[in-house]
């Protein structure tokens, strides 16, 4: 009999307690924790990511040595490099530098391998690469125009070097 009334009391008090909790959540005192990605965030989500997060790769043709270390290091061969020798210049000049981000697993080995400073290859924080065409994920960094520019640059560099040697 005692148990019976205790049960009733327990039901009433626990329900009241629970309803108190939900009521507190209902009042404006508790803000919702929903992040309305992608279009209603206070700042773009990319900007909230940590500095060192590994997102899509970026490439700077102007510092690259065309050593192709990155392509060799990559465990799944997502980097394809075509390079050529230019008459009268030292080393190689890049003709093609493609990264297939669809294959990439964001391991970061390529960026570790890059010998030049600052690095030619680096991760950005950008991660929103979703697309309905796989081809869109192949990043092509060198086009015809850039190639010509690189050739000219290599020639100029070689000339300068020659001039310096002559002076000596």
């Amino acid at each position: 009999m005692r148990r019976y009334f205790l049960n009733i009391w327990e039901a009433i008090s626990t329900i009241a307690k629970g309803m108190g909790v939900t009521l507190v959540h209902f009042t404006p005192a508790r803000k919702s924790i929903t992040i309305q990605y992608p279009d209603r965030t206070p700042v773009p989500v990319v900007e909230t990511l940590p500095e060192r997060s590994r997102g899509m790769l970026t490439f700077d043709p102007d510092v690259c040595d065309a050593c192709s270390m990155c392509a060799m290091t990559c465990p799944i061969d997502c980097i394809s490099i075509d390079r050529e020798r230019v008459e009268g210049a030292k080393g190689f000049v890049l003709k093609r530098f493609d990264i297939d981000m669809a294959k990439c697993m964001y391991c970061g080995l390529c960026t570790e391998a890059c010998p030049v400073k600052p690095k030619g290859l680096e991760h950005t924080r950008e991660f929103e690469g979703a697309t309905d065409r796989m081809e869109d994920l192949i990043l092509e960094f060198i086009d015809e125009k850039k190639h010509r520019e690189l050739v000219e640059k290599a020639l100029k560099k070689a000339e300068k070097l020659k001039a310096a040697q002559n002076e000596e």
Partner: protein, 369 residues
């Protein structure tokens, strides 16, 4: 409604030419359509409100994309449901399967005929209003069993059977607690019950005496159980029965089940307001005529009062739903038969004794001298 009908017949010349029965008939049909126009958008809007309230209580947002703050979400949902394919399983009993949702909806819609909205605004002020409401709302259970049976699906059938067991068990304490109020008023009419109360809380039946106070909670809990809402939603327990009796339904028929559920929430809240919370009694006295106030203004104030009280109770239903977990079947029966029924009987006897000793004086009247 009768009041408006009489007014029309008295004041509009051309209606005199037609026999008054036809005029009544036309007015009744129009009144029914008006009620439908109230019920359907209201139930739809309640689904939206419920989702927002749920979101708020769970620290999320809820639908907020369709229209400002998502208020057109229910319109989008409704349109989607109507456009969806209406699938009938091959093994189903086609005729019963098709009929069931209508019975469920009609069962809850019929109750609106006797629900008061304000002093004059009531489709039919039956002198057996409360009895009528409980009688037609019992039809819902027939529809639910029908849908469970006709689906020819284990889960649906179990849902239907559970619903039947639940509604029948909880009908008992519900009616018993209503009886306590009927003892106090001596009438079964909805308007009569409201008129017996005052505008101030101490004149409500809720605070009339301790037994009526408990009766309100017994009534409300059993009414929530009758609606098959959480924490009493074992007929459609998602984790066990997929969706219970409406598992096989899709499209418009599924929408009808939903509509009926939310219409029912309004109905139980309105009945609770009528019986226990003073109904449309306006908090201030509006003298007609003296300040040039039309009777319709008094009506409007009554309507607003009634709707505010009702929607507060509807909110409490939602609040309960998002607070409590679902009961197990045996727990449900325990609560119903071992707790609700004895308490309801105790209330009934207690109210009778109260009336024997103090007549229909309330606590406030006794304390006031």
């Amino acid at each position: 409604m009768r009041y408006f009908a009489d007014w029309i017949i008295e004041n509009l010349e051309f209606t005199r030419a037609i026999p008054s029965e036809y005029v009544y008939l036309i007015i009744m049909v129009v009144g029914g359509l008006l009620l439908l126009l109230f019920v359907v958008p209201m139930a739809g809007a309640l689904t939206f409100v419920e989702r927002r309230v749920a979101g708020k209580m769970q620290s999320r947002i809820g639908p907020n994309r369709v229209g400002p703050q998502g208020i057109f979400q229910f319109v989008a949902d409704g349109v989607k449901l109507i456009l969806k394919e209406d699938i009938i399983p091959t093994a189903a009993d086609r005729r019963l399967f098709k009929l069931a949702p209508y019975i469920v909806f009609v069962g809850s819609f019929l109750t609106f005929a006797a629900l008061p909205f304000s002093q004059k605004l009531i489709a039919a002020d039956l002198n057996i209003g409360i009895l009528y409401i409980f009688a037609v709302s019992s039809m819902v259970v027939v529809g639910i069993i029908m849908s469970g049976w006709a689906s020819n699906n284990n889960l649906s059938l179990l849902g239907g059977m559970r619903s039947a067991a639940q509604i029948i068990s909880y009908e008992v304490p519900q009616i018993l607690s209503v009886l306590a109020v009927i003892l106090l008023t001596g009438t079964l009419g909805m308007q009569g019950t409201i008129k017996a109360q005052g505008w101030a809380p101490q004149h409500w039946f809720l605070f009339h005496n301790p037994f009526a106070f408990i009766a309100f909670f017994v009534f409300f809990i059993s009414a929530v159980a009758e609606c098959n809402r959480i924490p009493f939603d074992i007929p459609e327990a998602e984790s066990e029965l997929v969706s219970g009796y409406n598992t096989e339904y899709s499209g418009f028929r599924f929408g009808l089940f939903f509509l009926a559920e939310f219409a029912n929430v309004y109905v139980i809240s309105a009945v609770a307001v009528t019986l226990f919370l003073g109904g449309w009694n306006t908090p201030f006295y509006l003298p007609t005529g003296i300040w040039g106030l039309l009777p319709s203004a008094v009506n409007l104030a009554g309507l607003i009062t009634f709707l505010i009280k009702t929607f507060v109770l509807v909110f409490v239903c939602m609040w309960l739903r998002w607070t409590l977990p679902r009961l197990r079947v045996d727990q449900l029966m325990t609560v119903g038969w071992k707790y609700m029924v004895p308490i309801a009987f105790f209330n009934l006897v207690g109210t009778a004794v109260w009336m024997l000793v103090w007549g229909d004086k309330s606590i406030a009247a006794l304390l006031g001298g």
